[in-house]
Symmetry: C2
Subunit: 472 residues, 2 copies
């Protein structure tokens, strides 16, 4: 195992600190395939935990999983105009099958709206077939030029929900419901104090009428898009000629949504909670929540540890580190890997009826009584989860700024990390001027649909309040 | 929903019967992507159940999940000679990223030995790093010319285990262990009376030293390969220069295995258990084990059904069909979809303190007392599982033949469906003569490593007993 010494300090180089943690905590490895990463067992176990919780939330809200093809024929990708314009520049094209050139080239799916629509056209005939609430867990490919583990990769593991509804109202409700499922999941499980808002016309998904976004703020004040939910209206349904007979035997066009989150959330987790000593994971999503480290070889110590482990509820994942390594090495490994709670027990502790608890979030070490130790542990895990959220929220709040006018806005944008709240008229020209004047890749998040006052840029009547932030 | 009337009789056209069931039971749909299928929610739920059970078995035996890239650069695929010869003719090649031709073309992984080896080379340095017991759930692509749902498709959902070991003994043991995990799973969960054996030199996996296979026999007597486990020896490790320092600080080459099963098992399930009325599923793998159908609208009936449902153990999945359809329509739907047990309850039943149970395997209808109904149901599900296995085993046994000489062998091969046991010298020329003389795509399964007597073909001294069968 690599050690904490290989982790660059955040203050020295935040980007390097991030990739060091990904590597040293053994979350990913680089591969011989340019732009693709290998997700190692410890990283993949985080994704499995994310999948388990989200999949349950999806199924409880009536969604079913399906599996669509990996490929999209070029003619199918071309059906919806905005969509192809958005995706064509960044897809991977399959042109040969074995030694034979294909008659029509196929792209590896960058997203599956077109495939779902093609299928929906065949299976939606009557109002009885609606709603269709489908989800897919899969890999997508976008031919990115610059890549970083979890944040931007040519291959992405994700889920994509695609639903069809009889009415606009129902589809809009679905869009918002799934947006809030993501928000709830990220707050409660990932301990991310995300900001939810709408994307501007310029930034919304290719083909969507509205895109709702979940934005997390990293420790360096930069925004990370951590999930989106789109309302499509009837644009795809029209392009694909999807029609159904309603209750009055009249042909109608259904309304559509799609929504997705990716392994990028793991990047968000890392850049929100981790520190210069390595990964920090919220207990609710950590592959291993507790590591027990016996000090010395006293069989009574091992026996006691096994007893504690067995008395913990089944939903708590723990391991006893019985390897030949020294305790010091084990401590370092637990720290670098972000295991939320370390429990050390030696012969002397046993005599004193005590145990040493070391929490990863604060690095605090404390002696606890062995009486009722299971309850102490459960309480401490809850406390770690809560503390991680509160710490992240406090830091986020300290980087939320208000700008009264454009001058102040530019000053803050140049000097302080974080998001800046301003009034905006809604015109793309003003949004573009901001991006030009600040000079960095940025993100606008509409947080209030209606506002008084005037646009910070053009001084015309304002329509929205927005958060403006630098983005990953 | 389509109905039983759309299912061709097995006796008329077995192949059509199979694809009719796939479609009518809503397991798959055809897509606009030639050779790729859409796995619909009901089909995908079967795969999810398979994954859940197998993943648990893998983890309990110490395996960890990882995620490797989707693509393999051509130069990487070329490293192991036998491997590239086996796979090059059937891979899909990505040659463009966006609008830019790639410097080196990438294939979509047909299997991931080369990717795992490339990674193992980086992470295996010392005997402390061994064994590596990795598994991956993913999609692979093989550019097949003729395709059939689940059986042969251009895209396949599967799992692939790839392990590295210090010693030959340990690697051979792993190969056999996973082979028997598959056997156990297929017998106990899928109720398939599979035959396990070794593949001949001619049929083994490209690059493997030994390939062990799990073969299921379909109702028409044809063999379906339902999983394989390979012992690689050191061939890949040598080709990829994977070396580690052993306990004496000496550089050593590790030993390797790989093993996999695919969604093809769902095809095996269908062609083993289903009948002319539709799908038949073993309870242990069915997405819905019980459907409750209320007869009439008496609220007391619904209440009683809910009470029974709630009293069942949590591991049993059931649904109450409260849709507006007629009971007759609901019965037909439950039958076509192969729901193992139907429970009908009406007001009159309630008065009599009875309930009607209809089991899908035998189509038997029986009246049972409402006293202790939960136990009756649990027992019946167990009985259905057992009966499906026994019925399939009995049928399989009726199609296992012994041939004393080549004349008898050819006569049976021409006249009877099933597998034929013969002695074989082990020479590829004799194997090829059999394939030529029988004239169909076939499978040889070595079931006994040593035997007396002489080869049925060349009369020379026999080395093995084999089962010979027509294959899917």
């Amino acid at each position: 195992m690599a050690t904490v010494n290989e982790i660059t300090n955040r203050s020295v180089d935040f980007a390097k600190w991030y990739t060091d943690i990904c590597r040293v905590a053994e979350l990913v490895d680089y591969s011989s395939v340019k732009g693709s990463m290998i997700i190692r067992p410890y990283g993949y176990a985080i994704w499995e935990n994310i999948q388990k919780v989200l999949d349950k939330m999806f199924k409880e809200s009536g969604h079913e999983n399906v599996q669509m093809p990996l490929f999209i024929p070029e003619s199918l990708l071309n059906v919806e105009k905005d969509h192809i314009e958005g995706f064509a520049p960044e897809v991977a094209w399959v042109t040969m099958g074995g030694n034979t050139p294909l008659e029509e080239r196929y792209c590896v799916r960058p997203t599956s709206e077109t495939l779902f629509c093609d299928h929906y056209k065949k299976i939606i005939k009557s109002y009885r077939d609606l709603p269709k609430l489908y989800n897919q867990w899969c890999t997508i490919v976008r031919w990115e030029k610059t890549t970083r583990p979890f944040l931007r990769s040519r291959e992405i593991l994700w889920q994509e929900g695609h639903t069809m509804h009889q009415t606009e109202e129902e589809a809009r409700k679905e869009t918002l419901t799934m947006w809030h499922v993501y928000e709830k999941f990220q707050k409660e499980y990932l301990a991310l104090p995300v900001i939810v808002g709408k994307k501007t016309e310029k930034e919304k998904f290719a083909g969507a009428e509205e895109t709702y976004t979940i934005e997390a703020m990293m420790q360096d004040g930069v925004a990370l898009q951590n999930g989106t939910s789109h309302y499509f209206g009837q644009s795809f349904a029209r392009a694909f000629n999807i029609e159904y007979l309603d209750q009055n035997n009249t042909l109608k066009t259904p309304y559509q949504t799609s929504w997705g989150v990716t392994t990028r959330m793991i990047g968000g987790l890392i850049m929100t909670h981790s520190d210069d000593n390595g990964l920090v994971l919220p207990p609710k999503i950590a592959p291993i929540q507790i590591v027990f480290i016996p000090i010395g070889k006293d069989p009574k110590v091992i026996e006691k540890i096994e007893e504690i482990k067995n008395n913990l509820p089944e939903y708590i994942t723990s391991k006893i580190d019985l390897s030949e390594k020294s305790p010091g090495y084990k401590f370092a490994e637990a720290e670098v890997k972000g295991i939320p709670l370390r429990v050390d027990l030696g012969s002397r502790d046993l005599e004193n009826n005590t145990v040493t608890l070391v929490r990863r979030d604060t690095l605090e070490k404390q002696t606890a009584s062995l009486e009722n130790i299971e309850n102490t542990i459960i309480k401490m895990l809850d406390d770690i989860q809560e503390n991680l959220y509160n710490t992240a929220e406090k830091r986020r709040n300290s980087m939320l700024h208000d700008a009264k006018n454009y001058e102040e806005f530019i000053k803050i944008a140049n000097e302080l990390p974080g998001f800046i709240k301003i009034n905006w008229c809604g015109k793309t020209s003003c949004e573009e001027k901001i991006k030009e004047d600040t000079g960095y890749k940025s993100r606008c998040i509409l947080i209030e649909e209606k506002t008084d006052g005037c646009c910070a840029v053009c001084k015309e009547s304002a329509k929205h309040k927005i958060y403006f932030g630098k983005q990953y």
